[in-house]
């Protein structure tokens, strides 16, 4: 039976866009992206167990242009999800709810994730060349 159409209160679209809701959405988006990363991790492990040939084809994909871009994306997704997740854990402990703390920790999570992603990329780049 289709649900009756009921009046709803205005939501998402009428509120001012700000760091809090942006990072909340980004936390979920990066989490979903990392779920796909888990499948890739499993694929990589299975290819390793399968022997040199199967590992070689997996490694060729990850070392290719598409693979490297995807890995860079997953690196950022992981680092942001990690930092923002720690932010959530502090909230769960009842800390960091002041307006300035919320905004500062939010920016710290975003900028920290970007800085760490660039560091990882630079590290990998220096090892490749």
């Amino acid at each position: 039976m289709p649900a009756r159409v009921r009046p709803t209160s205005p939501h998402a679209e009428i509120y001012r866009w700000q760091i809090g809701n942006t990072l909340s959405i980004l936390h979920r988006v990066t989490g979903a992206a990392l779920a796909l990363g888990l499948i890739a991790l499993s694929y990589w492990l299975v290819s390793l167990a399968g022997g040199a040939d199967s590992y070689g084809s997996a490694a060729r994909f990850f070392a290719g242009p598409i693979g490297l871009i995807v890995l860079l994306g997953w690196t950022f997704a992981f680092l942001f999800h990690l930092l923002n997740g720690i932010r959530h854990l502090f909230w769960d402990a009842g800390r960091g709810f002041e307006r300035t703390q919320r905004q500062l920790s939010g920016w710290a999570a975003v900028l920290g994730a970007i800085a760490l992603t660039l560091s990882v990329a630079a590290w990998v780049w220096s090892r490749l060349s």
Binding site: A3, R28, G31, A32, L34, A35, L38, I39, L41, S42, L45, V46, L48, A49, G50, G51, A52, Y55, G56, A59, F78, L82, G85, I86, H88, L89, D92, V120, W123, V124
Partner: protein, 129 residues
């Protein structure tokens, strides 16, 4: 004396006594993943190379294999809890919701199981049989 109405008592839709179980499991697995994921990232970044022999030799060490199994297991669990909430939020048709959650669970058992089985194959060296 109960404060519940007679109708509420007849319907019997009270607390199922596990209201915080999902929420808490998400937090516990998140805390466990902080050291596990950082160990994995640092290990891969500091290996002499990511070629077949190097990675296989690294993963064959019992402590590495053990930590990798823990990583895949906790990652699968945490990721499953997270995507479960996403499905519950956005898939509203009840039949479709049950089906999606079931498929999701199968996929996670498959991805996690394959990853762990692959690590065990590497550690115990069955791939060459």
């Amino acid at each position: 004396m109960s404060l519940r109405s007679p109708m509420s008592r007849v319907l019997g839709l009270g607390s199922a006594k596990d209201g915080t179980a999902h929420w808490w499991a998400q937090r516990v697995s998140a805390v466990a993943l902080i050291p596990l994921t950082l160990w994995f990232l640092f290990s891969l970044l500091t290996l002499p190379g990511l070629d077949y022999e190097t990675v296989r030799t690294w993963l064959s060490v019992p402590i590495t294999g053990f930590l990798a199994v823990l990583l895949v297991a906790v990652l699968t669990y945490h990721s499953y809890l997270g995507t479960m909430v996403i499905v519950e939020d956005y898939v509203t048709a009840s039949g479709m919701k049950v089906l999606s959650l079931m498929v999701l669970r199968f996929l996670y058992v498959l991805a996690g199981g394959a990853g762990i089985f692959a690590i065990l194959r590497v550690v115990f060296g069955f791939s060459r049989l």
